[in-house]
């Protein structure tokens, strides 16, 4: 299902000419810079929410880009799907390699970086944060993974589909259904 860029907040941020950048990087790795700048925070956010601590997230981010640069020659869009999807497939594997005690730890145990002055903090109460933590803890792993790929990694539905092995339409359908279900719980209609 083609995704309309106008209705997808994530695709609007994609670096222009991603395919061309990937092709250039395959010829000359120095051209990888814009792709690194775009995807590195996304990989970090994703890993952070898989692993639960900043040190492991940084480790995984390093490994993902090392792997990606080593394997860039072998990346083929027709076989591997979107570049973002391919990169996050590596990230998933690297996070799985890091598995130890639990799938993720509560982020409340982390010390937030200096971004607490953002507008979101003004409207999110601690009660709401706690409530969301409880809701997220109750979710199935595959649902959490969808949320991580969408919110932490900010992937498009096409890229999410490439990562989880579904069509773009199926990924979108799964995500929308999940959000509808979460909204009911959030609004207290389906406790």
């Amino acid at each position: 299902m083609p995704e309309n860029p106008a209705t997808d907040p994530h695709s609007a941020d994609l670096p222009e000419g991603e395919d061309a950048l990937v092709r250039s990087s395959q010829e000359d790795p120095a051209a990888f810079g814009p792709l690194f700048d775009f995807y590195s925070p996304r990989i970090y956010y994703y890993a952070l929410h898989r692993l639960g601590n900043a040190a492991d997230a940084e480790d995984v981010t390093s490994r993902v880009f090392t792997d990606a640069l080593q394997g860039l020659d072998r990346y083929r869009p027709k076989r591997h799907g979107s570049f973002g999807g391919w990169l996050f497939t590596i990230a998933r594997r690297r996070c799985a390699d890091h598995f130890r005690v639990s799938d993720s730890l509560p982020l409340s145990t982390l010390n937030p970086k200096d971004n607490s002055a953002g507008p979101l903090d003004e409207v999110i109460s601690r009660d709401e944060q706690r409530r969301l933590d409880e809701i997220l803890k109750s979710l199935h792993k595959s649902d959490l993974e969808l949320l991580r790929l969408r919110f932490a990694a900010e992937l498009t539905y096409k890229q999410i589909g490439d990562v989880i092995g579904k069509t773009e339409a199926a990924a979108k359908m799964s995500f929308i259904r999940l959000i509808q279900r979460l909204r009911l719980i959030w609004e207290g209609k389906d406790e």
């Binding site: 083609p2 590195s40 860039l72 982020l107 970086k113 944060q129 969301l132 792993k141 579904k166």
Partner: protein
């Protein structure tokens, strides 16, 4: 306003906040960029052997070499013995997956160390040529213990011909096993799992060292607790209790609709039966989805799977393309799946694995146009005569109906006008049943909940009637995916080898 143009709701804000609050350290990203990019050319050139300029072809040489070795072995000692030997080389360790038994060493009996109320037990230690896996059970910890800080080192002594030197390894952590990451909290404590790089091949004794500081109250930073771990070679004839040799029931094959299902490997012990299957399909852009699986025995017992996995991310067996075995046959794509059942009755000598049906998603990639006014009223019926042929399955749309439906943007939902499509062709023909059709229109859309026929279970996508998507009185509809459920059943029967009972 949210990024989709609708009203922001509390859930959206909370989720964004939750997933994007902890920014990466810019110094880390800058350092990583500096480290990686100038050296990227070196990294890549070091992975490209000078004798071959096309690395993507290397696997073909490796595969050809393996085939040559196998052919030589088959010629020398006969195919039956070669296959039997291959089966003996592979074992299964719960939590680790399939392992190569050759060169694998393991702990024979669990070992423990108790300090005060706390007991660390090493319940499994498997050193395979691929990696080293350790499973630890801990009891007596305080309820609020934070096990994420636990560090466990593997230490060993190794001679270099002149003198013995001490080595140690930090955990590299294991991949989640293919059946899912295990729950760590147990009724009497915690199960922990660590993985390390492979040990040297000749190491038969190691020391496991725990650093209890930060987990056990009252311990100092320098305190360590150690356990001696003796290792013994694992063989198919003498497997450790948790290493289960596999067998391959080559007779277990069934084919319907050109879709072949095989049971490739079976692992069984007193706690569970794990079956690795392949579904080989001529064309399938996505996972074939098996429905209604069961395992029955000649003793009259029947079991339903409690775990099924075909998540390739967790499955070490990749999807493979199988070339035709004879002229005129199709190239098949093999999709691996794993099934776990409870342990089957130990009197059973014959097992039957049954799958009632397999659902396949086909990319239709077909467009059609409908004509309608800029703002059609609810109840308007637009006659259609649109036919699709999905792998020989005939689908005919006979109408589109304007209805009110729930539209979901990413963060909010409301009622909108939408198109609902009718089908008048048979939904089931010759054992193939239409179960789902995904539709979209060319200019994007707010997602509308699909129509689900309660009687047949058929799901058809609905499309919102946003005026922006109607151009010159026409709307282009794309049929994206069509799901057909193919009814078997696929029935795969095999004899349990005497030594596996």
């Amino acid at each position: 306003m949210n990024s989709t143009g609708g009203q922001t709701d509390g859930l959206e804000v909370a989720l964004h906040h939750h997933f994007r609050s902890y920014e990466p350290d810019p110094r880390f990203l800058a350092q990583l960029r500096r480290t990686l990019l100038p050296s990227a050319a070196d990294v890549r050139s070091s992975t490209r052997p000078p004798w071959h300029p096309q690395p993507h072809l290397r696997w073909r040489y490796a595969a050809a070499a393996i085939v040559l070795v196998l052919l030589a072995a088959i010629a020398a000692i006969g195919p039956t013995k070669v296959l039997a030997q291959i089966e003996q080389w592979i074992g299964y360790v719960p939590g680790l997956g399939e392992i190569n038994l050759v060169g694998t060493r393991a702990l024979v009996h669990p070992v423990s160390r108790t300090e005060g109320d706390i007991t660390f037990s090493v319940v499994e230690f498997v050193a395979s040529p691929d990696q080293t896996l350790v499973k630890i059970h801990v009891t007596g910890l305080p309820a609020d213990a934070s096990l994420s800080y636990l560090r466990v080192l593997v230490q060993w002594e190794h001679g270099n011909g002149l003198r013995m030197s001490k080595y140690q390894a930090n955990p590299s952590y294991p991949p989640c096993p293919s059946e899912g990451c295990p729950a760590v909290r147990q009724p009497d404590g915690y199960d922990l799992q660590f993985a390390y790089e492979p040990l040297p091949a000749d190491i038969q004794q190691i020391q496991l060292t725990f650093h209890p500081w930060g987990i056990v109250p009252g311990t100092s930073l320098s305190e360590t607790w150690s356990l001696e771990i003796p290792l013994e070679p694992v063989t198919a004839e003498k497997p450790q209790s948790f290493v289960q040799p596999a067998y391959s029931p080559r007779s277990a094959v069934d084919t319907h609709f050109g879709i072949k299902m095989t049971v490739d490997r079976v692992f069984a012990d007193t706690s569970r039966t794990l079956i690795v299957t392949s579904i080989l399909v001529p064309t399938a852009p996505n996972f074939p989805s098996p429905q209604g699986a069961s395992l029955s025995t000649d003793t009259g017992h029947m079991y339903e799977p409690f775990l099924f996995s075909n998540d390739l991310d967790l499955n070490p067996r990749p999807v493979q393309t199988m070339p035709p075995s004879a002229a005129g046959e199709a190239t098949l794509t093999a999709w691996p799946s794993r099934w776990q059942f409870e342990a089957v009755n130990n009197q059973a000598s014959r097992l039957t694995f049954t799958v009632d049906s397999i659902a396949l998603a086909y990319r239709a990639q077909s467009d059609f146009e409908i004509e309608l006014s800029k703002d059609p009223t609810v109840g308007t019926v637009i006659p259609l005569d649109v036919s699709l042929n999905i792998e020989g399955f005939y689908v005919h749309f006979n109408q589109a109906l304007v209805v009110m439906a729930t539209s979901s943007t990413q963060w909010s939902s409301n009622r909108v006008k939408a198109l609902e499509f009718g089908i008048d062709s048979p939904l089931e023909v010759d054992g193939r049943k239409l179960t789902s059709i995904d539709l979209s229109h060319r200019y994007g859309q707010d997602y509308v909940d699909p129509y689900i026929d309660q009687k047949s279970g058929l799901t058809i996508g609905r499309l919102s009637l946003n005026p922006a998507v109607i151009r010159n009185g026409r709307m282009t509809i794309s049929v994206d995916t069509v799901v057909l459920e193919l009814r078997g059943p696929w029935v795969l029967t095999w004899d349990v080898p005497r030594e596996a009972r």
